[in-house]
Protein backbone atom coordinates (compact mmCIF):
# COMPACT_ATOMS: atom_id res chain seq x y z
CA UNK A 1 0.00 0.00 0.00
CA UNK A 2 1.34 3.43 -0.97
CA UNK A 3 0.48 6.20 1.42
CA UNK A 4 0.94 9.95 1.35
CA UNK A 5 0.99 12.36 4.27
CA UNK A 6 0.06 15.94 3.43
CA UNK A 7 2.33 18.46 5.14
CA UNK A 8 0.78 21.85 5.90
CA UNK A 9 2.64 24.76 7.46
CA UNK A 10 2.56 23.92 11.20
CA UNK A 11 1.59 20.29 10.80
CA UNK A 12 3.41 18.60 13.66
CA UNK A 13 2.27 14.98 13.59
CA UNK A 14 3.13 14.40 9.95
CA UNK A 15 6.29 12.44 10.73
CA UNK A 16 4.57 10.42 13.45
CA UNK A 17 1.92 9.41 10.91
CA UNK A 18 4.54 8.61 8.27
CA UNK A 19 6.51 6.56 10.78
CA UNK A 20 3.46 4.56 11.85
CA UNK A 21 2.56 3.90 8.20
CA UNK A 22 6.11 2.93 7.26
CA UNK A 23 6.31 0.44 10.12
CA UNK A 24 3.03 -1.21 9.17
CA UNK A 25 3.33 -1.12 5.38
CA UNK A 26 7.07 -1.66 5.15
CA UNK A 27 7.27 1.25 2.69
CA UNK A 28 8.13 4.86 3.35
CA UNK A 29 5.18 7.21 3.23
CA UNK A 30 5.31 10.02 0.64
CA UNK A 31 5.41 13.48 2.20
CA UNK A 32 3.38 15.84 0.01
CA UNK A 33 3.68 19.60 0.52
CA UNK A 34 0.41 21.54 0.82
CA UNK A 35 1.47 23.87 -2.00
CA UNK A 36 1.74 21.00 -4.50
CA UNK A 37 -0.95 20.73 -7.14
CA UNK A 38 -1.58 17.00 -6.87
CA UNK A 39 -1.12 13.81 -4.90
CA UNK A 40 0.95 11.20 -6.82
CA UNK A 41 -1.25 8.85 -8.88
CA UNK A 42 -0.08 5.62 -7.24
CA UNK A 43 -1.20 6.69 -3.75
CA UNK A 44 -3.76 4.37 -2.08
CA UNK A 45 -4.20 6.30 1.15
CA UNK A 46 -4.01 10.01 1.93
CA UNK A 47 -3.38 11.11 5.51
CA UNK A 48 -4.10 14.62 6.79
CA UNK A 49 -1.97 14.79 9.95
CA UNK A 50 -2.34 16.53 13.27
CA UNK A 51 -0.91 19.93 14.03
CA UNK A 52 -1.90 23.55 13.93
CA UNK A 53 -1.99 24.27 10.21
CA UNK A 54 -1.79 27.99 9.41
CA UNK A 55 -1.66 28.71 13.13
CA UNK A 56 -5.36 27.81 13.46
CA UNK A 57 -6.11 31.25 11.96
CA UNK A 58 -9.79 32.09 11.50
CA UNK A 59 -10.98 28.58 12.46
CA UNK A 60 -9.02 25.36 12.89
CA UNK A 61 -8.51 23.77 9.49
CA UNK A 62 -10.23 26.61 7.62
CA UNK A 63 -7.17 27.89 5.79
CA UNK A 64 -5.69 24.44 5.14
CA UNK A 65 -9.00 23.33 3.60
CA UNK A 66 -8.35 25.86 0.83
CA UNK A 67 -4.64 25.20 0.29
CA UNK A 68 -3.65 24.15 -3.26
CA UNK A 69 -3.26 20.41 -2.57
CA UNK A 70 -6.77 20.14 -1.12
CA UNK A 71 -8.44 20.49 -4.53
CA UNK A 72 -6.79 17.25 -5.54
CA UNK A 73 -7.39 15.60 -2.15
CA UNK A 74 -11.12 16.40 -2.46
CA UNK A 75 -11.18 15.13 -6.04
CA UNK A 76 -9.39 11.89 -5.06
CA UNK A 77 -11.58 11.42 -1.99
CA UNK A 78 -14.72 11.80 -4.10
CA UNK A 79 -13.32 9.24 -6.52
CA UNK A 80 -12.93 6.77 -3.61
CA UNK A 81 -9.35 7.14 -2.44
CA UNK A 82 -9.32 6.57 1.35
CA UNK A 83 -8.50 9.67 3.38
CA UNK A 84 -7.61 9.55 7.08
CA UNK A 85 -7.74 12.82 9.00
CA UNK A 86 -6.23 12.84 12.48
CA UNK A 87 -6.87 15.74 14.88
CA UNK A 88 -6.12 18.83 12.75
CA UNK A 89 -6.71 16.52 9.79
CA UNK A 90 -10.25 15.84 11.06
CA UNK A 91 -10.80 19.60 11.40
CA UNK A 92 -9.58 20.09 7.82
CA UNK A 93 -11.87 17.33 6.50
CA UNK A 94 -14.87 19.05 8.11
CA UNK A 95 -13.87 22.47 6.78
CA UNK A 96 -13.32 20.99 3.31
CA UNK A 97 -16.82 19.53 3.39
CA UNK A 98 -15.62 15.91 3.13
CA UNK A 99 -17.11 15.14 6.54
CA UNK A 100 -20.16 16.80 8.12
CA UNK A 101 -20.10 19.01 11.20
CA UNK A 102 -17.37 21.09 12.74
CA UNK A 103 -14.83 20.90 15.59
CA UNK A 104 -15.35 23.74 18.04
CA UNK A 105 -13.41 25.07 20.99
CA UNK A 106 -13.38 22.55 23.86
CA UNK A 107 -16.37 23.19 26.11
CA UNK A 108 -14.18 23.79 29.17
CA UNK A 109 -11.83 26.06 27.14
CA UNK A 110 -8.84 23.90 28.15
CA UNK A 111 -6.32 22.24 25.88
CA UNK A 112 -6.59 18.56 26.69
CA UNK A 113 -3.51 16.35 26.26
CA UNK A 114 -3.73 12.85 27.71
CA UNK A 115 -4.54 9.25 26.86
CA UNK A 116 -8.32 8.74 26.77
CA UNK A 117 -10.39 5.59 26.71
CA UNK A 118 -12.47 5.12 23.55
CA UNK A 119 -15.13 2.66 22.51
CA UNK A 120 -14.95 1.27 18.99
CA UNK A 121 -18.53 1.80 17.82
CA UNK A 122 -18.27 0.61 14.29
CA UNK A 123 -16.19 -2.17 12.79
CA UNK A 124 -17.67 -2.07 9.30
CA UNK A 125 -14.95 0.07 7.81
CA UNK A 126 -11.51 -0.44 6.31
CA UNK A 127 -10.05 1.42 9.31
CA UNK A 128 -11.83 -0.29 12.18
CA UNK A 129 -12.31 -3.84 10.92
CA UNK A 130 -9.50 -5.21 13.11
CA UNK A 131 -11.21 -4.08 16.31
CA UNK A 132 -14.16 -5.75 18.00
CA UNK A 133 -17.43 -3.85 18.18
CA UNK A 134 -17.68 -2.22 21.60
CA UNK A 135 -14.00 -2.83 22.33
CA UNK A 136 -12.36 -0.35 24.71
CA UNK A 137 -9.05 1.08 23.54
CA UNK A 138 -6.82 3.87 24.86
CA UNK A 139 -5.56 6.53 22.49
CA UNK A 140 -4.10 9.94 23.34
CA UNK A 141 -5.79 13.22 22.48
CA UNK A 142 -4.02 16.59 22.23
CA UNK A 143 -6.30 19.42 21.17
CA UNK A 144 -7.97 22.65 22.18
CA UNK A 145 -10.70 22.41 19.55
CA UNK A 146 -12.10 18.91 19.44
CA UNK A 147 -15.65 19.63 20.44
CA UNK A 148 -17.61 17.94 17.66
CA UNK A 149 -20.77 19.75 16.68
CA UNK A 150 -23.42 19.02 14.07
CA UNK A 151 -27.17 19.62 13.98
CA UNK A 152 -29.42 16.93 15.48
CA UNK A 153 -30.51 15.72 12.07
CA UNK A 154 -26.90 15.15 10.97
CA UNK A 155 -26.06 13.42 14.26
CA UNK A 156 -29.08 11.13 13.88
CA UNK A 157 -28.02 10.35 10.34
CA UNK A 158 -24.44 9.53 11.42
CA UNK A 159 -25.75 7.20 14.12
CA UNK A 160 -28.39 5.66 11.88
CA UNK A 161 -25.87 4.88 9.16
CA UNK A 162 -23.30 3.44 11.57
CA UNK A 163 -20.84 6.21 10.84
CA UNK A 164 -19.78 6.99 14.40
CA UNK A 165 -16.49 5.08 14.44
CA UNK A 166 -15.23 5.96 17.93
CA UNK A 167 -16.84 7.44 21.02
CA UNK A 168 -15.24 8.85 24.17
CA UNK A 169 -15.92 6.96 27.38
CA UNK A 170 -15.32 10.12 29.41
CA UNK A 171 -15.98 13.09 27.12
CA UNK A 172 -12.90 15.37 27.32
CA UNK A 173 -14.13 18.26 25.15
CA UNK A 174 -17.92 18.49 25.09
CA UNK A 175 -18.38 16.66 21.77
CA UNK A 176 -21.95 15.98 20.75
CA UNK A 177 -22.97 12.43 21.69
CA UNK A 178 -19.39 11.74 22.84
CA UNK A 179 -18.25 11.46 19.24
CA UNK A 180 -14.49 11.02 18.78
CA UNK A 181 -14.40 9.93 15.14
CA UNK A 182 -16.74 9.63 12.16
CA UNK A 183 -16.85 8.01 8.74
CA UNK A 184 -17.95 9.46 5.42
CA UNK A 185 -20.99 8.16 3.61
CA UNK A 186 -18.86 5.80 1.48
CA UNK A 187 -16.96 4.80 4.68
CA UNK A 188 -13.60 5.49 3.04
CA UNK A 189 -12.91 8.75 4.86
CA UNK A 190 -12.27 8.66 8.61
CA UNK A 191 -11.80 11.74 10.76
CA UNK A 192 -10.91 11.39 14.44
CA UNK A 193 -9.52 13.66 17.14
CA UNK A 194 -7.47 11.01 19.04
CA UNK A 195 -4.01 10.13 17.69
CA UNK A 196 -3.73 6.43 16.76
CA UNK A 197 -0.29 7.08 15.20
CA UNK A 198 1.06 7.85 18.68
CA UNK A 199 0.19 4.42 20.03
CA UNK A 200 1.79 2.08 17.52
CA UNK A 201 4.80 1.15 19.62
CA UNK A 202 5.03 0.14 23.31
CA UNK A 203 7.88 2.64 23.61
CA UNK A 204 5.42 5.52 23.20
CA UNK A 205 2.88 4.17 25.65
CA UNK A 206 0.70 1.65 23.86
CA UNK A 207 -0.21 -0.18 20.70
CA UNK A 208 -3.97 0.31 20.46
CA UNK A 209 -3.59 2.48 17.37
CA UNK A 210 -1.58 -0.04 15.40
CA UNK A 211 -4.55 -2.17 14.36
CA UNK A 212 -6.11 0.83 12.63
CA UNK A 213 -3.13 1.08 10.29
CA UNK A 214 -2.79 -2.70 9.94
CA UNK A 215 -6.42 -2.87 8.90
CA UNK A 216 -5.58 -0.80 5.83
CA UNK A 217 -3.24 -3.41 4.36
Amino acid sequence: MNSAVIVFPASNCDRDAADALAKVTGKPSRMVWHGDASVPDDIDLIVLPGGFSYGDYLRTGAMAAHSPIMKDVVRRAKAGTPVLGICNGFQILCEAGLLPGVLMRNANLKFVCRPVPLVVEETQSMYTRNYAKGEAITVPVAHGEGNYFADEETLDQLEGEGRVAFRYVDNPNGSARNIAGILSENRRILGLMPHPERVCDPLTGGTDGKRLFEALL
Binding site: L58, A62, H66, G101, M104, R105, F149
Partner: protein
Protein backbone atom coordinates in the same frame (compact mmCIF):
# COMPACT_ATOMS: atom_id res chain seq x y z
CA UNK B 1 -15.30 50.60 -0.57
CA UNK B 2 -14.94 48.86 2.75
CA UNK B 3 -16.82 45.79 3.95
CA UNK B 4 -17.41 45.21 7.63
CA UNK B 5 -18.24 41.60 8.39
CA UNK B 6 -19.66 40.45 11.70
CA UNK B 7 -19.53 36.73 12.38
CA UNK B 8 -21.53 35.38 15.28
CA UNK B 9 -22.33 31.94 16.61
CA UNK B 10 -25.79 30.69 15.74
CA UNK B 11 -28.44 30.57 18.41
CA UNK B 12 -28.21 27.34 20.36
CA UNK B 13 -24.50 26.83 19.66
CA UNK B 14 -22.61 26.71 22.94
CA UNK B 15 -20.23 29.66 23.37
CA UNK B 16 -17.94 28.87 26.31
CA UNK B 17 -15.78 31.94 25.64
CA UNK B 18 -18.80 34.24 25.78
CA UNK B 19 -19.86 32.52 29.02
CA UNK B 20 -16.39 33.01 30.55
CA UNK B 21 -16.42 36.69 29.54
CA UNK B 22 -19.87 37.09 31.11
CA UNK B 23 -18.64 35.55 34.38
CA UNK B 24 -15.61 37.85 34.36
CA UNK B 25 -17.80 40.93 33.82
CA UNK B 26 -20.04 39.91 36.71
CA UNK B 27 -16.91 39.43 38.81
CA UNK B 28 -15.77 42.94 37.90
CA UNK B 29 -18.92 44.35 39.41
CA UNK B 30 -21.30 44.70 36.47
CA UNK B 31 -24.38 42.98 37.88
CA UNK B 32 -26.54 43.98 34.90
CA UNK B 33 -24.62 41.64 32.56
CA UNK B 34 -26.74 38.87 31.08
CA UNK B 35 -25.91 36.48 28.25
CA UNK B 36 -22.62 37.28 26.44
CA UNK B 37 -21.79 35.96 22.97
CA UNK B 38 -18.39 36.36 21.39
CA UNK B 39 -17.91 36.69 17.64
CA UNK B 40 -15.50 37.97 15.02
CA UNK B 41 -15.25 41.26 13.20
CA UNK B 42 -13.42 41.46 9.87
CA UNK B 43 -12.71 44.62 7.85
CA UNK B 44 -12.05 44.19 4.14
CA UNK B 45 -10.87 46.93 1.77
CA UNK B 46 -12.46 46.36 -1.62
CA UNK B 47 -11.41 47.75 -5.00
CA UNK B 48 -15.05 47.98 -6.02
CA UNK B 49 -17.48 50.89 -6.32
CA UNK B 50 -20.69 49.06 -7.15
CA UNK B 51 -22.52 48.17 -3.97
CA UNK B 52 -24.42 45.14 -5.21
CA UNK B 53 -21.30 43.63 -6.78
CA UNK B 54 -19.39 44.27 -3.56
CA UNK B 55 -22.14 42.65 -1.50
CA UNK B 56 -22.21 39.60 -3.77
CA UNK B 57 -18.46 39.19 -3.53
CA UNK B 58 -18.37 39.52 0.26
CA UNK B 59 -21.29 37.12 0.59
CA UNK B 60 -19.28 34.54 -1.34
CA UNK B 61 -16.24 35.22 0.84
CA UNK B 62 -18.37 34.56 3.92
CA UNK B 63 -19.87 31.36 2.51
CA UNK B 64 -16.57 29.97 1.29
CA UNK B 65 -14.14 30.99 4.00
CA UNK B 66 -14.96 33.67 6.54
CA UNK B 67 -17.85 31.90 8.27
CA UNK B 68 -18.60 28.24 8.87
CA UNK B 69 -22.33 28.26 8.31
CA UNK B 70 -22.78 25.04 10.29
CA UNK B 71 -22.28 27.10 13.44
CA UNK B 72 -21.98 30.74 12.42
CA UNK B 73 -24.11 33.55 11.00
CA UNK B 74 -22.66 36.53 9.21
CA UNK B 75 -23.78 40.10 8.62
CA UNK B 76 -22.27 42.37 5.99
CA UNK B 77 -22.10 46.16 6.20
CA UNK B 78 -20.67 48.25 3.35
CA UNK B 79 -19.09 51.67 3.74
CA UNK B 80 -18.06 53.93 0.85
Amino acid sequence: MKALVHITLKKGVLDPQGKAIGHALLGLGFPSVGDVRQGKFIEIELAETDESRARDAVKQMCERLLANTVIENYAIELRP
